[in-house]
Symmetry: C2
Subunit: 476 residues, 2 copies
């Protein structure tokens, strides 16, 4: 049967576009941090939506699961197959990489799912427009993956998640139908807004093959500051101060603690702390604007002067050049690389109401301190939208010597997520569920939530062949 499937697939997409060799498939069966490795029947690389539909129909005939993949840069093992269970066909979307149309008057852009995020940003910029989704992996992640995971990043506080920046979609459904809804409209009230089912569905309901993205006016002026401060409470108060003084211009409000900054400085070449003295907490604050003749540096300086007066910050520096601005952002964007090199971080991805972020950090610190007193507590987050990555951190040596690591990791993850949940928060703000948080779905989602998700899944994928076992925990 499997031989027939492979032959059918080769007929559909060409023999060169079907990979079965295990070593050659490693780019798709393993995640970039090397934490998850799974088994696949093959990797198929279709050239267009019709070929995707053909593959899906073929897999349905053979009763074989389908796992879509676009970029494979995720942090939760969501884009790689499981080690156990029926091996899927991986549908890699890298050949669908055309930027089909940029419409600067309508402020939209139509792209294929395999386009790299950085290329999309660049094409928007070339037309004098801005595609705001920005994250560490932008140089290798693909648009289809950002849609399937509703990617977040550093500009959500101003521009929203990927979800808020998608106007239209083309999706291949589990029955092989190509659902084409590539509208470039900002208003469209004609029944259920079905695209939202697919955004963030992690490949369980369909395969995104193309999208219409929303573009924004290109910010032309920026002011960036780095501040040192004593505690997260002060950071929350400073955020409110910025929002009240000139909230519409706020485009970045990133928090990290001393341990996180130390990791970056230690492990990534050419990174240094923007401030001379050591501080327990750090903020990167960015204002930006699209025109006018306001002096943004002066606005930011005024806000920071008041923050100093009010005792919210201990020190701050405003970037004096494009180079310095880039340097400050480089420190922020080097976090993943630093943490990968520095040891084993148990990355969590909670969001809470912004007003509860300080309480969350305090509660999580206490809970993890009790479970793993030797772990360093690394904290980095998109504070402007309440998304705090709380990362209990071990040196490689510590980690190797730990007994019962998996149980400890799970206990720590639950403790952090419990702290968020108790404050009305979530265990996955932007990374998604993947393999890491499937148990959390059962632990935190309400029975009504899970029942609705199961009903939707059964309605769209009655055979259960799209990423089976993912996203929705088994019915208890």
């Amino acid at each position: 049967m499997i031989r027939t499937l492979l032959e059918d697939l080769a007929d559909l997409v060409g023999i060169d576009a079907v990979t079965t060799d295990e070593a050659a498939m490693a780019f798709a069966t393993e995640d970039w941090r090397g934490r998850y490795r799974g088994k696949a029947l093959c990797v198929a690389r279709p050239a267009n939506a019709e070929q995707v539909a053909g593959i899906v129909a073929c897999c349905a005939r053979h009763g074989v699961p389908v796992l879509p993949q676009a970029g494979n840069t995720g942090l939760v093992g969501g884009s790689v197959p499981a080690a156990e269970g029926p091996a899927p066909v991986i549908v890699a979307l890298e050949r669908l990489r055309r930027i089909r149309k940029v419409d600067p008057v309508n402020n939209t852009m139509e792209v294929e799912a395999g386009c790299m995020l950085a290329n999309v940003q660049e094409a928007a910029r070339a037309a004098g427009r801005y595609y705001p989704v920005s994250l560490g992996a932008e140089g290798s992640c693909q648009i289809g993956g950002t849609i399937a995971t509703n990617a977040g990043g550093t500009s959500v506080l101003r521009y929203g998640n990927t979800r808020e920046n998608v106007l239209g979609l083309q999706v291949v459904l589990p029955d092989g139908t190509v659902w084409t809804n590539l509208t470039a409209l900002r208003k469209n009230n004609t029944g259920y807004d079905l695209k939202h089912l697919f955004i963030g569905s992690e490949g369980t309901l369909g395969i995104v093959t193309a999208a219409v993205l929303k573009l924004h006016p290109l910010p032309t002026r920026h002011a960036v500051a780095w501040a040192g401060l004593a505690d997260p409470e002060s950071a929350v108060r400073l955020l409110t101060l910025v929002q009240e003084r000139d909230g519409a211009k706020l485009s970045g409000f990133e928090l990290m603690n001393r341990n996180q900054l130390d990791l970056v400085v230690r492990h990534v070449p050419q990174r240094r702390s923007p401030l001379e003295d050591a501080h327990d907490w750090h903020l990167l604050i960015e204002l930006s604007d699209t025109g006018g003749n306001d002096d943004l540096d002066a606005t930011l300086e005024g806000i920071l002067a008041q923050a100093l007066d009010d005792g919210l910050i201990a020190d701050a520096v405003i970037a004096a050049s494009e180079r310095q601005r880039a340097d400050m952002w480089e420190v922020r964007h080097s976090v993943s690389e630093a943490n990968k090199k520095g040891g084993i971080g148990l990355t969590t991805d909670c969001a809470v109401p912004v007003s509860a972020t300080a309480d969350f950090i305090r509660a999580a610190s206490a809970a993890v301190g009790a479970l793993a007193p030797k772990a360093e507590l690394v904290v980095v987050g998109h504070m402007g939208d309440g998304n705090v990555h709380f990362i209990p951190f071990f040196t490689f040596d510590q980690w190797d010597k730990l007994e019962d690591r998996d149980a400890l990791a799970e206990a720590i993850r639950h403790a952090v997520n419990d702290a968020a949940h108790a404050l009305g928060g979530t265990f996955s703000a932007e990374h998604g569920v993947g393999q890491v948080s499937l148990k959390e779905m059962a632990r935190y989602k309400s029975p009504a939530d899970l029942a609705l998700m199961r009903a939707v899944k059964a309605a769209l994928d009655p055979k259960g062949l799209f990423n089976p076992g993912r996203l929705i925990p088994p019915d208890a």
Copy 2:
């Protein structure tokens, strides 16, 4: 059986909260323009979500349809029952009118479905924040209705539709479950984002009982101009000019033609044209900002001076006071009242890509001119998001003398919607489907769209008791 149902309902919500008298029910069985009148078994006015759930379960037991209603200010007959077919129980949400919580640090607000939009706007403002959804009916429409219809209005180009301003929902499902998802999070990637199923579902999937809304920084400075110009093409070019000069500050870009302005001036007391000379087309342009010390009037003046130089506009005036700004907006907000008083307007609600708005107006004008040469063409729209209300208009006298009015109205509606559809547009941008556009759903939505909608409807409302016959046309 019906007697029992009424007794059951009275037991649930109290005898005073169940109305069966036909005259007393008229507020709920008839729309405000008096165009749609239907039959209901009763109007039930529950006091909380549990009572809503009780009513729903009771109706399910009796096999009686349910029609939720919050405000009854719609323009498409969506919130009133049909004249034919099984009469529903109308669930009126006016008693759920508590503003439960305003969190200015998190920029969120939790409200019940029966809150009036204007009260929500006011509560946000009292906390120094901004709830941006704004529309003509804001003094009487209710939040639940704005959510069920994904209400648009005049600020969509900057802040999005109602959909983009809802973070959490509580919904009573067709099986009587209360699905509570009142999270106040800007990021939450934990499975399907189910709230989007209910937003814009026009009461066919559930009854919204409460919501968490997103608040924004309060704009503190505004500049408003009124411009006269020769044609819609110039309006599109001016829009692009504003967006390129200072796009992030643009908060209003409203178009109307001479016929529309004349109707307002003629039929609404104290309204006058902001410009002395007559022009074929008019624009209201608003910039706003939350801080800084930019002179917005100067920015707007600079843009308009360039527009004059480039020949895009013939004349313009910038409001010199708060009073003048309000006057200009009053002209815009008086459109519904003027058109109701002035005659019979066949309101349409198309949106097209902004880059296609001028083509749309030209094509629709030609098509309607051929069908009804005597109709005046009234055009008013939220041009900044491509939403153009193209309104073939008859005097009462003309309308009374027309033979075969219904057929003509339908032919005209199809002609306008065809013009939009041919340009990648939609027949309902913001008003929704209701009774007016059900046939359009069958005419313009793809088979894949309709199949997906039917699958979702069957999964959530298998008995088909929530607003039966609405939104999804019968399977052909």
